[in-house]
Amino acid sequence: MVNVLDPSGTLAAGTASPLDDDEVLAALRLMKLSRAFDAKGASLQRQGRFGTFSQVAGQEASVVGSAWALDPVRDWIVPQYRELPALLRHGYPLSNFIRYFQGNPAGGAIPDGVNLLPIQISIAAQLPHAVGLAWGLQRQAKDAVVLVYFGDGASSEGDFHEACNLAGLVGAPVVFFLQNNGWAISTPRRKQSAGRTLAERAAAYGFPGAVVDGNDLFAVYAETARAVARARDGGGPTLIESVTRRLGPHNTADDPTRYVDPADAEHWRALDPIDRVERYLVQRDAHHAARIAAFDADVAGEIERALADADGGDAVNRDQLFAHVYADPPVRVVRQRAQRVLGDR
């Protein structure tokens, strides 16, 4: 397993940080924003102001480290649903994410120039999309790489295996970024596959696979950057298995006390990916402590502004049922809209 930064925040012997301090600080801020938003979202959900929502907590190094290896201007992200900070770095507005979880279709809108597909709910369905996207970009000689997120659970679906097979055949510039967070709802990783690792499947499809410490920002970043560079140079796909742990429930409707062993949870809590980066930065330079301390208020402010923005938008309405279903709606749908929106019964 690739490892650069150990839990005490010390670089492993013979390794160097792949990022300079300003970049590490920026990545840490995003990790903290994600953690703060998790808490906010869960509290809004309890108040009935937010729908069911999946937190990132525990996986911030995995998500942020991988997204950091991409160039938002050229590269694409194809998400599952547990990658908020990656979406933000790529340019998706937090206020849209909020609207989406408020149940407002307007939240699904992706701004022009933001290279993202929508959040995916149907497990593994995004993987073939990512391959086709990467293949098409390559056919058009666009200098772009596609990174697709998915989970250990998703890696059991046929769509995953079919996507890998095709990607290997066409040499698509795609990075399959598998977040092995230990669980698919209540189903543990060991019940998904008898294989020793999930990454070793890459060999069967003719491309490289790697296992990284998913709670190590530097290892995730470095390994993803290597895969992105290979894809950019025409070297085809890579499968990265990022070994991490979801610290919270599967989503706000889940009760993990039914299946999580408290000792395991405790073990992983001690490996918190955010603490690790903070320790590293403070060991590098004691002055960083003050900048890190300021992040809390800073990210809280950003979240409040995004919430205000989301609440300030147009209220949900009946027309949203009909908007953007077709470029050119069939007559029957036009009549249904007239009945429901304009009230001609």
Binding site: N104, S156, Q192, R258, Y259, R318, Q336, R340
Partner: protein
């Protein structure tokens, strides 16, 4: 007789099946320690062991395909698909394999398999979890499609499904899981397939529904009654087999009919009901049969689902239109 919610009745039915028949197995996602995301299998793995209540890898096609193989081998699998919207990942297995194996093997390979799936709207699920896709499956010859609306029927129809020598898709309304409560006997009983239930007797107009739409139709019947109109509510209970004779006879008594479905209009099972009535009760009809449904648009995010789903008002208006016709 104990009062149970629909989810409790289903759990009791599964428990009874595991208890009485060692061939019964439950396979699905998160059915073990978690007891299913809705707790339909709560406590069953602890009681019957990991070999009989099996947490499957996250792959619906292999859950259904392997359940077919288990059934042919002599087991009695009950496969849980977490949400009907994710049965798409297994659609080729259901429509082409499970439903036709008896026919393709000319009777040699029977598939006594029950597929349970939660479905339907109104409970603010994430995207892609709420669609009412029953019509897809009612269009698969060889597959029975069961849509209970009450807790009593859920347990009794489940028992019939498990005993059936052929595959059955058993659709459980998310909205009914905890809201619908009624008397459910502790002892085993079966509710036969293909016999509709008169949920509410009435004289002037017939409201036809299945699954969670039955409660909607009942609320509409209350509203109509308040306005002096006597509406009858039929609960189809099973789409395949469809109680063609019971449907025709009931609608012939009132001559007016509204079919209520939660799914989008075009190609929905309501169209099948209307066509059946045109064939079987045409000369008794005194007004065009009305359909109340969702629009022909995708199931939306939770914030607008109340606009999307058919409402009591929609049903009342449709019923009044049938009464206003000559």
């Amino acid at each position: 007789m104990p009062v149970m919610t629909m989810i409790q009745a289903i759990r009791a039915g599964l428990d009874e099946a595991l208890e009485t028949d060692p061939r019964v197995m439950i396979v699905g996602e998160d059915v073990g320690a978690l007891g299913g995301v809705f707790r339909a299998t709560d406590g069953l793995q602890a009681k019957y062991g990991e070999a009989r209540v099996v947490d499957m890898p996250l792959a619906e096609a292999s859950i259904v395909g392997a359940a077919l193989g288990l059934a042919v081998s002599g087991m009695r699998p009950i496969a849980e698909i977490q949400f009907l919207g994710f049965a798409h990942q297994a659609f080729h297995q259901i429509g082409q394999q499970v439903a036709r194996m008896r026919f393709r093997s000319q009777g040699h390979c029977a598939v006594p398999l029950v597929l349970r799936a939660a479905f339907g709207g109104g409970v603010r699920t994430p995207e892609l979890h709420s669609d009412a896709f029953e019509a897809f499956y009612a269009h698969c010859p060889g597959l029975k499609v069961v849509m209970p609306a009450t807790a009593y029927d859920a347990k009794g129809l489940l028992a019939t499904a498990i005993a059936d020598p052929d595959p059955v898709l058993f659709c459980e309304p998310l909205r009914g899981y905890r809201l619908v409560k009624d008397d459910v006997p502790d002892e085993p009983y079966r509710v036969p397939f293909g016999q509709l239930r008169i949920a509410r007797a009435g004289r002037e107009v017939t409201l036809v529904a299945w699954s969670a739409a039955v409660q909607l139709a009942e609320r509409a019947a209350d509203a109509l009654a308040a306005g002096g109109i006597s509406a009858e509510v039929l609960d189809l209970r099973t789409l395949n087999p469809l109680d063609v004779d019971g449907l025709a006879a009931a609608v012939a008594r009132t001559g007016r009919c509204v079919v209520v479905q939660e799914a989008p209009l075009s190609g929905g099972f309501g169209a099948e009901v209307v066509a059946t009535l045109v064939e079987t009760a045409f000369y008794h009809l005194q007004a065009p049969v009305e359909r109340v449904s969702a629009p022909d648009t995708p199931y939306p995010l939770a914030g607008v689902e109340d606009f999307y789903l058919p409402s009591v008002d929609d049903v009342v208006h449709a019923a009044r239109r049938t009464l206003a016709a000559a």
